[in-house]
């Protein structure tokens, strides 16, 4: 069984100028112990997806279709009480802004204990938990302002794993850290994941980090998944032109050439281009792309792409 399966998920936001569909008919699955990445530009819907999976979308946003299956539990139909019990215990999130995710006037050990108590678990072995995420003894007694950015992110990881969830969602967990600390934190995340045999959904826009960390990658564009493939396949041979350009826009340490951004702008979600949403920016676009929306299809074993010419 999959650790997490998303089936036809749709999330919309009501806006005075019309409905904005931030996540549009997205399906993918995470196997137990798998590291799955989700990349896309800001506004592509990747963070909204994370919030939707946690059932944390707030008005004017709402989930208007699809299933979120955590093991055999359908999160999309759970009651408020049941979903609160499932968060942290079954599926936990390491937030993006770990700098601001902790309570500044509470010792960090107490914050971990709080999370456990809230789920009816007697807090214990918090020192051990802190050691598992690589924090020195005595950290429980510290306040967030006494910790570095990397240490704060480790505390957030400790909270995320305190009830041994089967799925961990990490939304740009290292975007505010320098590369040296980033590698240390990601190493810790990998260790605790193996410890728990949990699946990780890593959300971000750094293709380098994805290439080094995840097993499979999903690429989002304008609220839709345009490619899913094992990471080696994506690095070796990206099938969707958007994926190809995303990789090319990254500064390479091997060769220095003119910086190539992706020309044009990400489309407005409430006013998507006809057919393939990427066609105005795509160098390979033809008439068919303007007229007909490509659906994700299997190109070869395990490689899906939503492009007429993949």
């Amino acid at each position: 069984m999959n650790a997490l399966r998303i089936e036809g998920l749709r999330v919309s936001f009501d806006h005075p100028l019309g409905v904005v569909r931030a996540v549009d008919d997205v399906s993918f699955a995470l196997r137990p112990n798998e590291r799955f990445g989700l990349v896309g530009e800001s506004g592509s819907g990747k963070s909204t997806m994370a919030l939707a999976i946690m059932r944390m979308i707030r008005p004017p946003g709402h989930i208007d279709g699809g299933d979120i299956l955590l093991g055999d539990t359908n999160l999309s139909t759970l009651s408020g009480d049941a979903i609160r019990r499932t968060r942290l215990a079954g599926i936990a999130m390491v937030p993006q802004g770990s700098m601001n995710a902790l309570n500044p006037v509470m010792r960090v050990g107490a914050q971990v204990a709080d999370a456990m108590r809230d789920h009816g678990v007697q807090p214990r072995d918090i020192d051990q938990l802190m050691a598992r995420v690589g924090l020195p003894a005595g950290t429980v007694e510290k306040y967030p302002h006494e910790l570095s950015g990397g240490m704060k992110q480790r505390v957030c990881i400790a909270i995320a794993i305190c009830l041994r969830p089967t799925v961990i969602i990490a939304d740009e967990p290292t975007s505010a850290l320098d590369v040296v600390v980033q590698r240390q934190v990601m190493r810790t995340l990998a260790v605790v994941q193996q410890d728990l045999n949990a699946a990780i959904l890593l959300i971000g826009h750094d293709m380098g980090l994805m290439a080094q960390f995840v097993d499979r990658l999903g690429v989002m564009y304008a609220g839709r998944l345009v490619e899913i493939a094992p990471i080696a396949e994506i690095v070796r041979k990206p099938r969707h032109p958007y994926t190809e350009m995303l990789i090319a826009s990254l500064p390479s340490m091997d060769h220095k050439d003119a910086l190539r951004g992706i020309p044009g702008l990400a489309p407005l979600l409430r006013d998507l281009p006809s057919g393939c949403a990427f066609h105005p920016r795509c160098p390979k676009a033809r008439d068919r792309c303007r007229a007909e929306r490509p659906l994700p299809r299997e190109i070869e074993g395990g490689v899906l792409a939503a492009c007429h010419f993949a």
Binding site: S42, V179, R187, M207, G208, Q212, F213, L246, L259, G261
Partner: protein
């Protein structure tokens, strides 16, 4: 050794900044230690200042911008101490040196529309002779950084994303066509694909308009792509400096090597997580070399003697005892190894 004909436009001359705290300032934090650098000498170039948080890179930017006063040394504009500038020279300094800041939240006044930060410089510096000309200038600057003017103008700051706000600030700097831009982490909050676009437009400012840029970042990869020179900072001092190619391709200081090795690469070789954990010996934190507690090559001399900059090649210097066989480079001659 250092012999300069022209007076640099902007210069940090043995500048230092110490923050005191605690009883009678007993707990001192050295944010920047005896740092010298000239910007805007010779042909226009981009110099990247690379370092982790707390390395002193933002302190350097604030000193050069006159936002913080040095506790030792001097910041000079056209040879004059910026603390003593008056009248015309002060106005010239404020025009010639522009800033793009790290935090796209703090720079906007939430009570004004976004237009305010763009129309103010146009008005103050008389960049346009009519309202429509001003509008055209502003729209062009916004498009250069990948924004749709109709989505930006007329909005309040809270209605824009962090990336949109940051790009608006880059557009504002473009409007003024200054001689030097000090950009403090200008792309740390925008997407990789846009990062390339913004950095590409900064590069064009240097190549086409002759603006020198000090690019302050923690990202060595973009620094290498966009810069002519790189200065690597670690705990208040430069540990390595030189032409970008030399610093990144043949890093000499163990800290720079650690930085280069920590960058996750889009590659089929997956060795990023598997490499040996980084060295950490907190008990050696007070060694003479400030990197000794994290260095895999620490020797006895590192505990007792602070390594001076050694000139490894004409365009490359590093402050490490491993390179002690080369001639010393005085800290105030740092520019000698820069292009």
């Amino acid at each position: 050794m250092s012999f300069r004909v022209t007076t640099p436009l902007l210069q940090a001359d043995r500048a230092g900044r110490i923050y005191g705290s605690g009883m009678l300032g007993s707990a001192r934090t050295v944010a920047l230690d005896d740092f010298s650098l000239s910007v805007g000498t010779g042909s226009p170039s981009i110099t990247a200042i690379v370092g982790e948080s707390g390395s002193g890179k933002t302190t350097l930017a604030r000193l050069l911008l006159g936002l913080t006063t040095p506790t030792s040394g001097t910041i000079r504009y056209r040879g004059e101490d910026i603390a003593r500038l008056s009248g015309d020279s002060r106005r010239a300094y404020r025009t010639d040196i522009q800033a793009i800041f790290q935090d796209p939240y703090g720079v906007f006044n939430p009570f004004y529309r976004v237009d305010h930060v763009l129309t103010t410089p146009v008005r103050k510096f008389r960049l346009a002779s009519s309202r429509s000309e001003a509008r055209a200038l502003i729209e062009q600057a916004l498009r250069t950084v990948g924004l749709r003017p109709e989505e930006i103008l007329g909005r309040y700051p809270h209605q824009l994303s962090g990336g949109q706000r940051q790009r608006t600030m880059v557009a504002r700097a473009l409007l003024l066509k200054p001689k030097i831009i000090i950009a403090d982490e200008p792309v740390s909050m925008v997407d990789a694909s846009l990062r390339a676009t913004i950095l590409g437009s900064l590069r064009r400012l240097t190549d086409e308009l002759g603006i020198s840029i000090l690019y302050i970042t923690h990202d060595l990869a973009t620094a290498w792509q966009v810069s002519d020179n790189i200065i690597v900072m670690y705990r208040a001092s430069a540990v390595e400096a030189g032409q970008a190619e030399a610093v990144v391709k043949t890093p000499a200081h163990p800290y720079t090597k650690l930085l280069v090795g920590s960058i996750p690469q889009v590659s089929l070789t997956r060795d990023w997580l598997a490499t040996e954990p980084d060295v950490q010996r907190p008990e050696e934190r007070d060694a003479a070399c400030r990197f000794a507690d994290r260095c895999p090559f620490t020797m006895a001399v590192c505990h007792t003697q602070r390594p001076p900059l050694s000139r490894i090649s004409p365009c490359h210097a590093a402050a490490c005892h491993l390179h002690g066989q080369h001639a010393d480079l005085a800290a105030e001659d740092l520019n000698d190894v820069l292009a």
